[in-house]
Amino acid sequence: MSPTIGAPLDRVDGRLKVTGAATYTGEFRVKDVAHATLVQSTIARGRIARLDTSAAEQAPGVLGVITHQNAPQIPRLKPATSPGGTAIQTAMPLQGEVIHYAGQHIALLVAEKLEQAALVGWGMATASYPSFGVPAEATASIRAGARAIVRSGAAELGTGQYTVMTQIASDALGLEPEQITVELGDTEQPFSLGASGSSSVRSVGPAVRLAAEAARDKVLHLVLHDQASPLAGYGVEAVGMEQGEFFLKHAPTERESYTAILNRHGLEEVTGTGKVDWVSTPNDHRVHAFGAQFVEVRVDRDLGLVRVHRALGVFDVGRVINAKTARSQAIGGIVFGIGMALLERTSIHPAFGKVISPNLAGYLLPVHADVPPVEAFFADVDDPYVNSLGAKGAGEIGVTGVAAAIANAVYHATGRQIRSLPITPEALL
């Protein structure tokens, strides 16, 4: 045996390895090769009900998508028989719709170049936005004919305030939403601040509720003291309210409607007022809305362009007054967050001190092409420290944290931590 055997030889590939020049298996050039990226199951057990590969198949450079629906069938392995079972995988991937474990390969995206299938990043961020209790006043008038009018100087600027105030009044008055008219936005109406600081539901909401309850209780007082009423002489606690009618809880057929009592007393309407003041929370509590934002981005490595591919937010705004408008509000907030992260910038001319693009032609907001599928969910839990509604306001929590989540996703995709907004090709090239 030659002396080479047993000699303390340095690693022959040592220099290549420590200088980064070594070639690894994945780096060998292969002729006529296509590239693939694997799509994995995000659940541990289940069944693939439907796979939509159409968008991926239409992307430039994509050769095809292989799933269990079009993959060649492989003979199923027989489990080796050994005492205590076997650790060999017998269910091969892409052979059926059953999911056996998290991370199971469920699709193979084949593209001309690896880049076309890559530079995907995931990011998340937490969100916290203070809930302000500001002064607000409202009136509620119950009218004969089982109608009610609610008034407040609060402003509806597209967020859905007419709708939620209708719901709050409906709940307190025992009337259907279509029996209630809400009038907002006129300074002749009871004092309220503008729609800002996510404070309308938090502040105007309780004022409307107090006004509606006051009007209802005034009418109830008439009922309980009207000898012509079947409810006369009973206490407040014995009476319930539904569909515009008071009724005796122990004898629900004994009823008195708003219309009947108002008519008997010759009243056109009975009005209650509600007022809330600046709300100071106890020193040991801070009232905030909370959330968590998740996004997936695709980054064009060559051109430094970021596109958000999907987004999801989960929020705690206390009790949700309207599941539809709250969700729309949150989705709108996430769209604004996309603009904040990637498009919006206010530039001031250094010599003239004027905003350079004081219009929506030059100041870019996201358009449909920038907005991916967005999902929004709410914890919908009562917050006992906030107000009589348990509702904190949903105006601004939707946008909070989106830009941070996108920046984190860009970091995940590119390894670059961008610390200023918007995130532009300048930062990523």
Binding site: L303, L342, P350, G362, P425, L429
Partner: protein, 256 residues
């Protein structure tokens, strides 16, 4: 613009053209916009649009607010100390790549003007934007059936996904022959970077009469930006152009 973009013959013979048209405006604007009008559209320079800023194009001699203001969208090619605005049309970039010619009619009769010669350099008179005389209108656009037109592509780079002008763009055409895919003719025209579509013959020459290889494409990308004169805020356009040229040529090479 919609009609031209949808025309089967145009889509078949000049792919770059419907691509530029469709990336150039929203469907509503395409339905109303005309080809000649798009060629003559005016700059999106914010200082030109917001008339309280000085602008030599709007008010000759008043100065240029872009020179010492933010000018990220402005021209790294062909600008002057009087004006650094860019021409915003995507269509014009594609038409220059196709050697298109406009036929005009005016008080002194008919004449033919290559689209490449339609716009004039700003110099000291940026208020004068084209060679057209008063009363002269574009009647027709002629596009030759060039050997490179069928293998053509328009690449538009912009941060907003749609409804936005190009940060930079590239119209590229290649005529490839033989088994080794030799480049017989080429057109590389840059958009969003000058007062007109900016043809870079230096980059075309790099490719000529050689097989199309990644190395050649990379050299063409470098040649495309050779004479760029970026300013502080628009420096990003230079590497973006280089990368966009490389991507457009690579995509053309991969086309069957």
């Amino acid at each position: 613009m919609s009609d031209a973009a949808a025309h089967p013959m145009i889509r078949h013979m000049y792919p770059v053209l419907p691509q530029a048209l469709e990336l150039g405006a929203s469907p509503q604007i395409r339905n109303m916009g005309t080809i000649g009008g798009n060629l003559l559209r005016r700059t999106r320079c914010p200082y030109f649009r917001e008339s309280s800023f000085p602008c030599n194009k709007l008010s000759p001699g008043s100065g240029c607010a872009a020179l010492n203001g933010q000018h990220r969208m402005h021209a790294p090619f062909g600008s002057s100390d009087a004006c650094i605005a860019v021409h915003p049309s995507d269509l014009a970039v594609a038409l220059v790549a196709l050697d298109a010619v406009v036929e005009t009619r005016g008080p002194s009769g008919k004449r033919a003007i290559p689209v490449n010669d339609l716009h004039v350099a700003p110099g000291y008179t940026p208020d004068r934007e084209t060679v057209l005389q008063h009363g002269e209108v574009i009647r027709h656009v002629f596009i030759p059936d060039g050997p490179f037109a069928a293998r053509s592509h328009y690449l538009k780079v912009r941060e907003r996904g749609s409804y936005e002008f190009a940060l930079v763009s590239v119209a590229a055409c290649l005529e490839l022959t033989g088994a080794n895919r030799t480049v017989r003719s080429a057109r590389i025209v840059l958009g969003g970077v000058a007062y007109k579509p900016w043809r870079v013959t230096a980059a075309e020459d790099v490719l000529l009469v050689s097989p199309l290889t990644p190395e050649r494409i990379a050299r063409a990308g470098a040649a495309a930006i050779q004479s760029a004169e970026p300013r502080p805020d628009n420096a990003v356009k230079v590497p973006l152009l280089q990368r966009a040229v490389i991507r457009a040529l690579t995509m053309l090479g991969e086309k069957a």
